[in-house]
Structures are given as structure tokens and as C-alpha cells.
């Protein structure tokens, strides 16, 4: 079973993307036609990349065209693979991966700071290339709402390739998969590509989290992926909200719990008001469930990208409510969110005192750390360490001579 197939986008406005068509043939080998706006620099490179990819995908006979608007190799590989998979639906194919970024990934931790996480549409190459420069604590490559349903297969391959080819700098590497159970298909290739956090949208049942966690762990074992992969369920419905605690504590892989305002509000039949009373219970529910389960409560996004003052106000309220971070849908929102979640001077002073007490105890060989009569345990010390680090990054404390 084979058929004519296409992938990617056409036209000059499809910047950094390319369009690939495949017409399977009975015989005659590969007939490749390439047009590219960068052919004067990469004509030969493009031809050999496409021919090599077809070879790796074991395609022997086809007419193939590539119309390129400056797609970098990992993007072009994803588009070729997408077109091939669409041309032979149901046939198993090996993954056709790009070269891995030698910079590697910055290790993450379950309780890493997640003040700002920047959503990027998973099928837009031009947004992926420089996603890491905007100072967000995490990037979320989105396979769900930001991608038209017919393009989700393409987005998965593009995001998978981006995770291989790009280190994303200091940003934690998150992907929002499709709603489960469809989203289960997304998980293995992403785990092999060293995703660090998987966001599970429209979570309504702790079983969903357990299924995702089990798949993560078996994939890690099979592929020999050493680094831990964490989960962040998103509550977006009344049913999910009512199960918040069970969902939050369903798996030890869960690092954070968040919620989605738009879908939730629609489902309860509510309307947005200036003081946000309609979501008071939901926000309380998320914060309390997360805290009870020992995971980070993270707030939803703020939709009006023009209104930075509104965002600042909204973020302050979220911080005071107990949330530790907020989603961003545009790079300009990132500095505002980061700034609000910078620790307050009193917090910084307290954290410094805790670290000092800890250091003193260590020097003196004591196993018990205390400030006055207050006992300090390890999680508190860790948290204080992170506050101190954040304060340094924000310039509130002098550097220790170390680098970022």
C-alpha cells in the first residue's frame, strides 16, 4: 500500500521550512528534484541529505521533490521522514535521526526551578531554532493544541529531531504530548531523544499518569536512557480537578502539577471576571493537591501577549497564591514572569542564613542543622540553595566567581 504524500509547508512565508512530496513508483530508483532559496550555498548538501535519508528509510523507488525555504538539516530530515511515512502508511520505518548536539543537555532535577516555561508550536521550525535564547527556565515544544490535528505526526518527528539536534542551552526540555491515550504513541521517541519533562494534557485519571510513567520507564530501560524523565499533568476539566490529589501523587516521576484555564472554564460553563473568582476553587485545588503530593504547583498561561502589566499583576497573584511558576506563550512574557518569581529579599536573607547554618554544621561535623531552635532538614537546605542560586542569577547577591 503506497500513495502520493506531502509534508512541510510551501511558499516564501514558510521560512526555515521545506515542502517534500513523494510519489512512490514501481521501479526506476529515486528521481529527486530540489529547488532551494539557499541552493548557491547548499545545493549539493541538500541532495545528499535527502538521498541519504531515503536510503536509511529503505525507499528505493520514488519521485521526490523538495521545495526549500532555508530549512536546516534536522528540519529537512523530519519533513522527508514524514512524507515517507505518509506515503507508506502502516509500514514500519527506522527513525531517521539528525546528528546530536555535542553541547549535550543540561541535567535537570525533580525540584528544579520552573518559573517560566515558554510554549512553542511544535510544527514551526523557525520558532524552534532560537527557542533557548529568551531566558525561560524551560521550553515546551507543543504537540497538542498549537498543532493542527492533521499535522501532529509531522510535529512529533520535527520535535523529536529538534531534541536530538538542539541542546536548548540552559532551558529544561519539555514536550506537551497529545491527550492520552493517543499521546502514549508520542512518548517513546521523545524519551529516546532525551526529553526531560512530559506534559500530559487534559489529565482526568491517575491511571493515565501511571500508564505514561510505565511507558517512560520501559522506554528508558530499552534505550539505555540514564537521565530521569519527569511528568507534569495538566488539569483542564472538572473531572480532572476533582481528582487533583490522586493525579498529583499517581507516580514518583511527577514533578509538577499545572492547569489550563481556557478549557476548564469552558467545561464548567464559567466566564472570566476581573477578580478571577470563577477559578478560585480550581487554583486552590491545584496548589493544595500539588503541595500535599510534594510536587510543584505551576500556574496556567496569560493569554493577552500585548498586556505586560496585566501579566505582571496576574503573575504576582499566582505567586502569592502559592504557585511556583507560570506558562508563557510569547518570549516577551518571559522576563516579566521570571522577575516576579525572583525570590523576595526576606526569602533570600532566610535562605542565606540556612545555607550558612548548614555549612557551619558540616564544618563542625554535626549531622543536625538548626537555626536557633528550628531544625533544618535536607529538602529545606536544597530549597535554600536554589533560592540563593536564583538570587545570584538575578543579581541580588554577588557571584561566587562561578559561571551561570
Amino acid at each position: 500500500m503506497s500513495r502520493h504524500a506531502e509534508a512541510g509547508r510551501k511558499g516564501r512565508e514558510a521560512r526555515s521550512d521545506c515542502h517534500v512530496t513523494i510519489e512512490p513508483t514501481e521501479s526506476g530508483g529515486i528521481n529527486l528534484e530540489v529547488t532551494s532559496r539557499v541552493d548557491y550555498l547548499y545545493a549539493d548538501a541538500i541532495r545528499s541529505l535527502v538521498l541519504d535519508a531515503l536510503d536509511r528509510l529503505e525507499v528505493t523507488d520514488a519521485r521526490v521533490t523538495v521545495e526549500d525555504q532555508g530549512a536546516v538539516p534536522f528540519v529537512m530530515l523530519a519533513r522527508v521522514e514524514t512524507a515517507v511515512r505518509r506515503a507508506w502508511p502502516g509500514r514500519p520505518f527506522p527513525e531517521c535521526l539528525p546528528e546530536t548536539d555535542p553541547a549535550g543537555t543540561v541535567p535537570t532535577a525533580r525540584d528544579r526551578w520552573r518559573r517560566s516555561r515558554l510554549y512553542l508550536p511544535g510544527n514551526e521550525p523557525k520558532y524552534l531554532l532560537n527557542a533557548h535564547i529568551h531566558g525561560a527556565d524551560a521550553v515546551i515544544l507543543d504537540l497538542e493544541d498549537a498543532v493542527p490535528p492533521a499535522e501532529r505526526d509531522a510535529a512529533l518527528l520535527l520535535v523529536r529531531n529538534a531534541l536530538h539536534a538542539l541542546s536548548f542551552g540552559d532551558c529544561e526540555r519539555m514536550v506537551r504530548v497529545n491527550r492520552l491515550p493517543q499521546g502514549l504513541d508520542d512518548i517513546p521517541p521523545l524519551v529516546r531523544a532525551h526529553v526531560q519533562v512530559l506534559l500530559l494534557p487534559k489529565c482526568e485519571d491517575p491511571e493515565q499518569v501511571r500508564a505514561a510513567a510505565a511507558l517512560v520507564e520501559t522506554t528508558r530501560a530499552e534505550a539505555g536512557v540514564k537521565a530521569q524523565v519527569y511528568l507534569m499533568p495538566i488539569l483542564e476539566s472538572p473531572r480532572g480537578m476533582l481528582q487533583a490529589l490522586e493525579i498529583a501523587e499517581a507516580s514518583p516521576l511527577t514533578a509538577a502539577l499545572t492547569w489550563g484555564l481556557e478549557d476548564y472554564l469552558r467545561e464548567i460553563g464559567g466566564r472570566r471576571t476581573p477578580d478571577g473568582e470563577e477559578t478560585l476553587w480550581a487554583r486552590s485545588q491545584v496548589v493544595n493537591a500539588a503541595r500535599a503530593a510534594g510536587v510543584q504547583p505551576i500556574d496556567t498561561v496569560y493569554a493577552d501577549i500585548e498586556n505586560l502589566d496585566g501579566l505582571r499583576e496576574h503573575t504576582r497573584r499566582a505567586r502569592d497564591f502559592g504557585f511556583e511558576g507560570k506558562g508563557c506563550i510569547h518570549p516577551r512574557q518571559v522576563p516579566v514572569v521570571n522577575e516576579v518569581f525572583i525570590p523576595q529579599p526576606a526569602e533570600v536573607a532566610e535562605a542565606c542564613a540556612i545555607i550558612e547554618a548548614f555549612e557551619a554544621a558540616r564544618r563542625e561535623g554535626r549531622s543536625v542543622v538548626a537555626i536557633g531552635r528550628r531544625m533544618i532538614d535536607a529538602p529545606v537546605v536544597n530549597r535554600a540553595g536554589r533560592i540563593v542560586e536564583l538570587a545570584r542569577r538575578a543579581g541580588l547577591l554577588p557571584d561566587e566567581g562561578g559561571t551561570r
Partner: protein, 525 residues
Amino acid sequence: MKSAEDARRFAFVQNAAGRFVPTEVNGRTETPYQGVHAHRPTGRKAAPPIPNLADYPARDSKLFPDLHTALEHCGLRDGMALSTHHHFRDGDLLGNQLLDTCAEMGVRDLRWFPSASFPCHAPVIRHLESGVVHHIEGSLNGPLGDFCSRGRMRGLGVLRSHGGRAQAIQDGEIHIDIAVIAAPTADPFGNANGVHGPTACGNLGYALPDAMYADKVIVVTDNLVPFPALPIQIPGHYADCVVVQEQIGDPAKILSGTTELTRSPDRLYIARLVAEFIRDTGIMKDGFSFQGGAGGISLAFTIFLGEMMKQAGVTASWIHGGTNKYLVRMLEEGLCRALVDGQAFDLDAVGSISRNRNHVSTSPLISYNYHAKGNFLGNLDVAVLGATEVDLDWNANVVTHSDGRLLHGIGGWQNCMLAGCTVLAVPSFRDRTPVIVDRVTSLCAPGELVDVVVTERGIAINPRREDLRKAVRASRLPVRELADIKSDVERLCGRPAPHPVLDNVVAVVKWVDGTVLDSVRQIPG
């Protein structure tokens, strides 16, 4: 079509930058580039013929019914050099009107010497093809750039900076037979300004050297007012003829587009890095000065810098630039003492010139001229510029795309290289085309003058500027080596293959002192 013989006729020498350049351009003997400050010509400046009051006796005697009669009066004939100016940018109508009139009058082989050409001048291709215009000396972009790049123009394109154009006129390197000056407001004596009228554009500084040095000067206006037209930006005693045309520019295109703040998050990020660099190096201190720009990163950096100045309580002594509402606001808020205006980019700037005595117009003849007793750049602390390419020797290109096609004019870009600190603010690649390359396609600025390259992948500081490297050592800026940024980009984009250009030279790039810095070669197709 230029023949192979034409191409072979040039004798080439290797100049001080290692580039092969012709020793003769459009019939003139040329000096190859000698080094940044090495060329020291002697002799005297050019001078127009001595006029006589007896030839201009009566009130209104300079008024002519149309361009045709005025050109006739000025003795238009085959082979003359005619100049126009780009105060109306892509809204200019006069350039085409002038050359259309010349075509009707049956003259041939003219040399058109615009201060810059724009896509609106595409109809000039017709006159190049028919032989009315022999060649263009002035910036070539859009359709005209393509025409020249493909080797279809007789004669060579000559690309000069704004300051270099004024220098060439002043030194007699190019002789203008007839200068045609579009004036938003003029009186019958020929006094002209750009402040009033339906095509108000603020400043007429580009036309000043032409007015002073051309043999004949025609002032064309669509807003004739009684003597004296005030303020007097181009004095009428330079004018031979005054012509009233119904429309000389399209106001909608004169002041549009360029003051829009970029929405590209990547460009905004680069602009913010530039501002932080200027702050953290200590260049941003009381009394400092900078070049403000229009459009893209240079506009955005101005806004970020303004915010940082406010926060730190720092004021600038003066800002040079294409001016716009943001710079006007800085002047009005007291963030700078003076705005020195080469070109106004919006109505706020035009209005400010006419009402604020600390907002003054200048001409490249005065602010940018290298053959002068100093120029404004000697007083400028920092300039932020774009580029199409920069190489590992810090050489930079602004006139051609990486495929060799003529893309931009040089503008004030080369002139600003002589500021205290020159920053190129560029993305590290554009749609897989790397900006940091092994060797720039066209050399427009020698590497010793490029101090800093700011990209979204980090800030690189020229090793010649140990002072700047030291100044930011304790900062949080992402300072990296240029070669490291380049290899990052090549890892992502792939290493580009050397691309084909033909041997045939189609244009030359001049340095600010009139020497030939590089040759631009024909591209295939």
C-alpha cells in the same frame, strides 16, 4: 550587455585589504584602498563656475514652466551627470520624472547620480536598456541591484557611503552637471526646505553638496511659497531654476514603515543585548553620544537603551541619526541635550525639527565627510549597525547578499565605522544562510574598525579592543569568540559550499576616502 572585451579591459591591482580592484572606473583613474587612514590626497577641492547676478536680475526670473524648459536652460546634452536625492525614499517621484523628461528630450548616455535609489526607481531600467542612461553611480538595490548584478548595466556601479558621496563631489571625483533637488517647500528664488508642505521630509542635507558643487541646480517643488521660504535649508543663491510640479513624492511612502518596532523576538533579544553591552561597558555614562537608527534592531536598541538611561539617571550629550518619535521623546524628556538629524523618519521628527532648537538638521557633507577638518564621528561614542556578513577577520559586508547580489546601499554605515565603538547587531544566520563567514563576499568595512558583533548566540568582541573585553569581564553578558559562534551556526546549518560568481566586475565599493575597497562581481543568471 557588457561584452567580454569590456571586462578584460580593466587592469586590476591588489589593494591594501588584499582585494583585487580595477584601476580605472567609468573612465576615471582610481586609487586602490591604501589602509584606513593611509590615503592623503593633495590639491584643491572642486569648484562650480562663477555665476553673475546680471543673469538672474528679476524677481521670479528663476521660475520655469516645467522640467523640460529648465533642463534646456541648463544646457542638458548627451553624457551629462544628473543628480537627485532620496529624501523621499521609496516615495520619490522626481527621479523617474526627470529621466522620463530626458528621454523625451532625446538625450543619451546620461550618468544618474542619486544619493540612493529605491525599488520605486525600477522604471529606470527602461532608460538603461534604451541608452538614455549609461549607468548609475549610487546605491543599487531591488530591481536595479539585480540588473547591475547580472552584468546588464553599461559602465560600473559605484557604491559610496553618504559621506563618501559628499567627499567625491567636493573633491571633484565626480562632476555633477545638473543637480535636481526635490524640495517639499521652495520660493521663486530657490530657497528650499523639507519641513513644510505635503511631502515634508524634515531635512534636505543629502542635496547640500550637490547644490554647492554642481554646475547647474534646478529646485523642483510642489509647494511654492512667497520669498523667503523659511527655514532656509538649501539657500536659493545656489539655484539656477525653480520648477513647480504637481507632485514630487508620495507622502504615504516617505515616512512609513521605518519606525515600526520589530516584533521578532529574536531581533528584540539582540537589541536588548546591544543596550546591555553599551550599559555594562560603561559607554553609557553622562554626556555620552550614540547613533540612533530606524527600523529593525537599531530602532529597538534605542528604546531599550533609553529605558536603561532613565533607570540609571544618565543623559546623553547628543544623538545622531535617522530620527523618529522615540528619539524625539528622549530629547523632550531631557535624556539627551541635542538631536542631530541626518534624516527624519516620521512626522514627529519633522515637527520636532521645526519647533525644537535642539533638534538640528545636518548634511553628510558636514557630519560624515572624511576629507574635512574632522567630522561628527570623532565625537560619537557608539554606533549600532547591521550587516549582511562579517568574517573571522572582522571584515564586514553591507552591499551584497551572500549570493553576491547587490542588496543595500552603504548609507552612513561606512562612515559610522569611525565612531568610538562600532557594534554590528546581526542574527547569526538568516534562513540557513550564515552571517559569520570565512571571507565576506564584498568588503565594505575593514575588520580593524568592527569592534563588536552582537548575535542571538552571544557577543563577540574584536581582540583589538582589549579595553572592551576587559570592561565586560565582570558582567553577565554572554561574551564568546566569533569563531565559536560561527561553528555553532555551521553545526546547525551545515558548512556552506563556496558559491559561484563570474569574473566580470559589475560595480566597485569605495572607502570613505574615495579609494576602491572592493569589486562586486557578476552573478550567474
